[in-house]
């Protein structure tokens, strides 16, 4: 009796969900490459052109700290011939498996190929580096170089195309740096202070000449305290800061508390807009590419602070 009931439930479940998804035949190009973040995937797309099928594990708007694998990530990782990841502890939970996979295929942590002297420490913990390297365009050019070298070694047949694409892309990055410099010159020196929700913008600040303040630490589990909010409010009032910024992948509740606090002290602070910090915009839009994302951030910051 009981057994029959159990079996009945099982059969019902099977009928409801038994139909499994059809495997969509993906267009086969010459190489299959997977990157963890959208930033790196964008570089590979620029360098690889039509020769590579590129996919990113972390989609638009996904905070790498909170990334959860989906079922299709299984086959993405299994079918990939080359895997690129950021490194510097950004993909904490995946490091072990990348280590294991490097026995069978090419796996590169782009962060490991960078000039160590240019990396920023994660403040007082000397062992670990700040992983948000994409905000320093010079470092990002080193990433492009490392990606190209690895791709050339893996697919020597396309060497010339990869090299040509790299040259074009590096020029684009130089243009981006020039654009950033020009826009930032619109902001008076004293106003070059960037206040954001969490500590993602240290590379940005260092390379573009901004002082950076984050309310929350690197870890998402360290909550901001009342004292942090108080100090931030005083900082805003003392420096007469016009605007602070929210991030696409972090809740803006804390920033609203800070604005409220400054208002009570008679200082109006605006929300300057939303910056892309750990993720990029939706695929197909301007902000879905590295260059577009960076330009969006520069424009948002300059327009709010000038």
């Amino acid at each position: 009796m009981v057994m029959k009931r159990f079996l009945g439930v099982m059969v019902l479940m099977m009928l409801l969900f038994g139909c499994s998804a059809e495997n969509s035949a993906t267009e086969k190009k010459e190489g299959v490459v997977v990157a963890t973040t959208g930033h790196i995937a964008d570089v590979i797309k620029e360098i690889g052109g039509d020769h590579l099928t590129v996919s990113a594990l972390m989609g638009p708007g996904v905070d790498p700290h909170l990334y959860k694998a989906t079922q299709s990530d299984l086959s993405k990782l299994e079918n990939a011939e080359v895997i690129f990841y950021n490194g510097l502890q950004l993909e904490g939970q995946m490091l072990d498996i990348f280590d294991q996979m490097s026995k069978d295929k090419t796996v590169l942590a782009v962060g490991d190929r960078l000039d160590k002297a240019k990396l920023l420490d994660s403040e007082d913990e000397g062992l670990l580096h700040d992983p948000h390297i994409w905000f320093n365009i010079d470092l990002w050019k080193q990433v492009v170089d490392a990606v190209t070298k690895t791709l050339v070694a893996e697919y020597p047949a396309f060497k010339d195309d990869f090299k040509a694409n790299e040259k074009t892309y590096l020029e684009k990055l130089d243009e981006l740096q020039a654009y950033a410099k020009k826009r930032i010159s619109e902001v008076p020196d004293k106003q070059r202070i960037l206040v954001t929700a969490h500590d993602a913008f240290n590379y940005f600040g260092e390379s573009q000449g901004f002082e950076v303040r984050g309310l929350q630490g690197l870890s998402t589990e360290a909550e901001y305290g009342v004292k942090d909010v108080q100090e931030m409010v005083d900082f805003l009032v003392d420096n007469k800061i016009k605007a602070i910024f929210v991030e696409s992948s972090v809740s803006d509740k804390a920033m609203k508390a800070v604005i409220e606090g400054a208002k009570q002290k008679g200082h109006e602070v605006a929300i300057g807009g939303e910056l892309f910090s750990d993720a990029m915009g939706a695929e197909g839009t301007e902000e879905g590419t590295y260059v577009g994302m960076y330009q969006h951030n520069i424009d948002t910051i300059v327009d709010a602070l000038k």
């Binding site: 009981v2 009945g8 479940m13 079922q71 299984l74 939970q93 870890s219 998402t220």
Partner: protein, 289 residues
């Protein structure tokens, strides 16, 4: 092969947790797994403060100690007269808060969170392999098999005593069953199971599998042996159904397995209510004649 390893891991979690969950449900301690999923934060922070590294072994050890500490503190409060659920609530919030406080004081600039450091992801299981005795299997499968064996061993050794201690502890004590020893032994095996499974497949799946299958089995079982059987069957079935749901919609595998646990529970509950209704209708009809 990749998919098969994921399904096998899910099955092992379902069966192991399904088994471990039965006595938890019967002893009204099912929330202990959820409590442990929070208190491990305290454990890994302490491990970091002591060793100053994020080395996986120390983190796991810290988490295991925190799990056992949770279970012992709950028992301590409970035996001093506080209700079981209140004891769990007090212990887990206090230890969790202590963990957050310690991070803010001593480790605010290290990327120290439970999700990152301790919790595994079932989708990545196939690539993290260990080789023992010339057999290469995913690390998670090795660990879960070991945990399953330990759980089976504990049950085989102490089944009768556990049953007595659970249903009539006064009587059990009067005939000389070492209730305290059994309880602490059982809680140690539960913390061990939970932390090892966290490391392999993450928190959501473990908490769901520890509570759901046993609760579902409790609805339809007539004896404790039956309950064990059904709980393991439900756990295994939820793993398989969940995997294919995740494939169908391309979503998180662990998330869908946990959802399947809930679906099975609701369907079983409905089926049982329906049977009850029909039986009552039949009885009243017969009485009418």
């Amino acid at each position: 092969m990749i998919e098969l390893w994921v399904i096998i891991t899910g099955l092992l979690v379902g069966i192991t947790c399904g088994m471990a969950g039965v006595f938890l449900i019967l002893r009204k301690m099912s929330m202990i797994a959820d409590a442990i999923s929070h208190t491990v934060l305290f454990g890994i922070v302490m491990a970091f403060i002591i060793t100053q590294t994020l080395n996986g072994f120390w983190m796991l050890l810290g988490a295991a100690v925190a799990g056992i500490l949770t279970a012992y503190l709950v028992q301590l409060l409970h035996s001093s007269g506080i209700q079981q659920d209140a004891a769990i609530g007090v212990v887990f919030t206090t230890l969790f808060a202590a963990g957050v406080l310690l991070i803010t004081l001593f480790a605010s600039h290290v990327h120290l969170d439970v999700e990152h450091i301790l919790m595994g992801e079932i989708a990545f299981v196939p690539w993290d392999k260990w080789t023992f005795f010339a057999i290469t299997m995913p690390k998670a499968v090795w660990i879960l098999l070991l945990v399953l064996l330990i759980n089976i061993g504990f049950l085989l050794l102490f089944f009768k005593e556990m049953k007595l201690a659970t249903f009539d502890s006064l009587y059990a004590a009067s005939i000389g069953v070492p209730i305290l020893f059994l309880h602490y032994g059982f809680m140690t095996s539960i913390s061990f199971t939970t932390v090892a499974a966290f490391d392999s497949v993450g928190a959501i799946l473990v908490v769901a599998m520890l509570i759901g299958p046993a609760a579902t089995a409790n609805l339809i079982s007539k004896s404790i042996k039956q309950m064990f059987l059904f709980s393991m069957l439900y756990g295994g079935a939820a793993a398989i159904i969940g995997y294919y749901l995740a494939k169908f919609w391309d979503t998180s595998i662990a998330g869908m397995m946990a959802t399947a646990v809930g679906l099975l529970f609701i369907m079983t509950l409905c089926a049982q209510k329906f049977m009850d209704y029909k039986r009552k209708a039949l009885v009243s009809k017969l009485e009418g004649v």
